[in-house]
Each structure stands twice: as C-alpha cells, then as structure tokens.
C-alpha cells in the first residue's frame, strides 16, 4: 500500500521520469525496509562505536547489518545517549558496499 501510493505521488510530480537520483534512492530504501524484505536477508555483523557531542556527552553508535547475496549490505545505525538512553539519531541505507560504513 505504502509503496504504491508513494510511487503514484512520485509520478504526479515528475510525469516524464525526471526524478532526481537521491529522491528515488530515498524512496527505494524506505519502501525496501517497510516491506519487511530485509528480514529475509542473512544477519550481518554488528558494530559498536562512540563519539562525543558538543557538550562532551557520549553517544554510542550501534550498527546492525544484513548481508545481500551480492556481497553488499543493508544497515541501520542507532545513536544512543549513554546517560539518558535517548535515541538521538537513526541512519540507514540498503544494498551498499560494506566499505561505506567506514565513511559514516
């Protein structure tokens, strides 16, 4: 349902197929996760790391990955405040090379 309606919306805005690449990719990755197909992928590695905010508060980053058959990964990163436990940030992408994690 969600994916169909978002496609329709996209067509209305750009009837000649002139969608910007980034917008299209954003829609694709959202629908991919929404569809639940990610669960059918084999679990990948889990990573943990941390950084400090401007107020010198520790934010823990947890990265959860799933492996695609082509060797790429899909991932979600959760940024969690060490003291309050609040989830500060969620970042995700699908079907990207593993190396991309090094640049985040």
């Amino acid at each position: 349902m969600g994916s169909k309606s978002s496609k329709k919306r996209a067509k209305k805005i750009n009837p000649h197929g002139k969608l910007l690449k980034s917008t299209k990719r954003q829609t694709n990755k959202e629908t991919y996760f929404e569809s639940g197909r990610i669960k059918s992928l084999a679990p990948g590695r889990y990573y943990i790391g941390h950084t400090f905010s401007k107020k010198e508060e520790m934010i823990i980053f947890i990265t959860i990955t799933r492996k695609h058959v082509n060797g790429n990964i899909s991932f979600v990163i959760f940024g969690i405040h060490d003291k309050t436990g609040w989830i500060e940030k969620v970042q995700y992408d699908f079907n990207v090379p593993v190396g991309i994690l090094m640049h985040l």
Partner: protein, 395 residues
C-alpha cells in the same frame, strides 16, 4: 567502530533505549526501522540479566517491556488522543490535549510515583479505553498475565536499584526498603519455627556454601547435604526453603518447581512458600493453575498480622497476588477490602515506591467500579479524595 560479537547485548541496549526514549517522548521518527532489522523481535529472555553496555541501562532486560509498549503505541496509541467531553466534562479541550502531550507515547508511565489526584480522571479514562476490554473478556486472561509480567519487569528493575549490603545479598530474609537509604535492612524470621543451635549453624553453613559454590556438581552435592538435614529435622521449614534455592542455583527449574509445590502443600499457611509457589506458577505461565488458586480464595488477613509479610520482595509478590486476584476475579468489593487493609498496615507508609503502585491498581478498581456499580462512584471518590489529599481535588 568495532565489530561486536555479543549481538544480544546490543539488541538489548536498543530495547532499553527505546523504553527511555518512549518514556520521554524522544523517539525519532525513523525508529520503526528497528522493528524491521532487529533479529529478536520475539520475546526470549524476560527478566534475565544481561550485559550492560551503557550507563543508563538497568540490570534487567527491557526487551519485553519495550515490545509491550511498542504494541500499545501501535494498536492503542491513537485512542488516547480523542477528546470526549461527556467523560472529561471538567476539562476543556486545551487542558485535555495538554495532558495528552505530557503522557508518554506508549501510554501510562510505569513510574507511578508521578501520579496525583489531578490526573485521576484522564487516567481512568485511559484505563477504560485500554485495559478494561482485556479485563472483562475472560478469554483474554493471558493478555492480563502478559501485562502483569511487563509491569513486573519494571518493578523488579526498581528493586534492583535498592542498595543491598554485599554480605547480605544472598539472604532472602532481608527487608528491602525501596528508596529509603537511611533505613538499614532488618533481619526478619521467615517461619514460625525456632531452630536449635545445631540446626541454626547447619542452616547458615548450607546457605553460605550455596552462595560460594559455582559449578552444578557442587550444587548437587549441597542438595544431598540439605536432604540429609531434612531427614534429621523434618519439621524445619528453613531446610525446605534452602532445597528450593539450591535447585534454583543448580539450574534445575523443574525440580525447583516441584519443591515449591511440595513446600506450599506442606506449609499452606506460610506466606513465603505461597509466594514462591505463585512466582513459580507465573514463571511457567500456568495461568490455569493460577486461576484455580485465586478462585479457591485466600485468607489474606491471616498473614498480615505477621511482621515479615510486607517487606521488600515479599511486598512486591503480595502486590502481584492482589493484582492477579483482582484481574481474575473482577471482584471490586474484595479488592477494595484488601486495598483498605494494605493501606492501613502499620509498615505501609515506609514504602515510598510501593505506595504508588497501589493507587495505580486502585485506579483500575475505580474504573471497573464505574462500569459495575455506578452508585459506588461517589463513595469511592470521597475515599480517593482522602487518599490523595493534596493541592488537586477530584470533582
């Protein structure tokens, strides 16, 4: 960023963070991704201790609480937002909406100490919209147990914050006083039994050895020693209690349950054995047996005379008992009677946290009473008024 092999610990960290964020209305809009990518979307280890990775985490795994809150938010969340002037006639729409904004996304805050009489009306409203349908449909009893278990995880988490002196940690005879650092835990007797000197030292020796030993073989050896002591002193309930604990240490859940049942049958008047029995029934999800237990009735007051009754974990389990009793029987009169009795209990006032649990449970009773017997509403309001005497008054 490093590769981390303890996947379960990481997932628990996310679940714990979800609870904190939901509670504070700080859940990012993209959090739904967690549901899609996390491996353990089914409950696996409720209440089991897990590896802690962040400062904010509690030693008790919050996975089940998180899943329960997620369920509430997904299925019932929208109902909270509707304004019904007939029910909340003393509230303007703005007041109502302001109140809703203050509520956490998942519904009621498990920190019931924040309750005050000003929140009663909307809380009852929320109760009627969410929990009452479950309570009034017998076939949904299992859901009640799910909810109770979820609450239990919150309370146990609160208990884990209580400072317990290291050397007394093992003793079940402790009086744990939540949120009262000035008060030292006091030794109380579990049973009305006076052991002789030899029995006493044997008890202490077995108890201490049980704490020290690590391997299963050692625990099985202790079980043998306890059984020998039981033959020598068949009347001594402490050895029976130790036997149960030893089986727990040896990770022999089935045998522990069996001992719990036997102890309960041998000492039906012992509140300690009754509570252990109930905890076992609940742990094994034996809702049919729990139902039978509650239906049989219980001479509650007989146990309140004993000082050891309302202390720490015993109080907690007793609270569970009352909650379960009420949830299954839907008998407001008996619940009110119990509630009244609990609040009048001399040792009751020192339990700052637990005092807040009962009003919450009372809210359920109040909500239900409105359904069952409208004439009692006024009387209950008056009693509530006294109970929550403060700046806010109930209309």
């Amino acid at each position: 960023m490093v590769d981390f092999e303890d996947y379960e610990a990481l997932e628990h960290l996310i679940f714990d963070a979800e609870i904190q964020s939901r509670k504070n209305g700080h859940l990012p809009k993209d959090f739904w991704l967690a549901e899609k990518i996390l491996a353990s979307d089914k409950v696996i280890n409720l209440g089991e201790r897990h590896r802690l990775l962040a400062t904010f985490q509690s030693p008790v795994a919050g996975q089940k609480v998180a899943l329960n809150e997620r369920y509430l938010a997904n299925h019932l969340g929208s109902k909270f937002a509707s304004y019904e002037p007939e029910f909340v006639e003393k509230w303007s729409r703005d007041q109502w909406e302001a109140f809703i904004c203050e509520l956490p996304a998942g519904g009621l805050d498990p920190d019931f100490s924040k309750l005050n009489s000003g929140n009663l009306t909307p809380l009852i409203y929320l109760f009627e919209k969410t929990e009452l349908p479950f309570l009034t449909e017998p076939e949904k009893t299992t859901v009640i147990f799910e909810q109770l278990s979820s609450q239990q995880a919150c309370y146990l988490s609160a208990f884990n914050k209580v400072q317990i002196p290291e050397d007394n940690k093992q003793s079940d005879r402790l009086s744990l006083t939540p949120s009262d650092s000035n008060q030292q835990p006091q030794e109380v007797n579990l049973f009305d039994y006076e052991p002789n000197e030899e029995e006493h030292f044997l008890q202490i020796s077995l108890d201490e050895d049980m704490q020290i030993e690590k391997s299963k073989a050692d625990h099985l050896l202790i079980i043998k020693r306890i059984r020998i002591a039981m033959k020598k002193y068949p009347e001594n309930p402490y050895f029976k209690n130790l036997l149960y604990a030893a089986y727990r240490y040896a990770d022999e859940a089935y045998a522990a349950e069996k001992v719990a049942v036997e102890n309960y049958k041998d000492f039906p008047d012992s509140i300690h054995f009754t509570l252990i029995y109930l905890a076992e029934l609940e742990a094994h999800g034996s809702s049919a047996r729990l139902k039978r237990f509650f239906k049989k009735g219980y001479l509650w007051e007989d146990h309140f005379g004993k000082e050891q009754m309302i202390t720490g974990k015993n109080f907690f389990w007793y609270y569970q008992l009352v909650a379960g009793f009420f949830a299954l029987q839907l008998d407001f009169a008996s619940f009110w009677h119990l509630y009244h009795f609990l609040t009048k209990y001399p040792g009751y006032k020192q339990f700052t946290d637990t005092r807040a649990w009962l009003p919450f449970q009372f809210l359920i009773a109040f909500g239900l009473a409105q359904k069952l017997d409208k004439s009692s509403k006024h009387e209950i309001s008056l009693r509530l008024d006294k109970l929550f005497a403060g700046p806010h008054k109930i209309d």
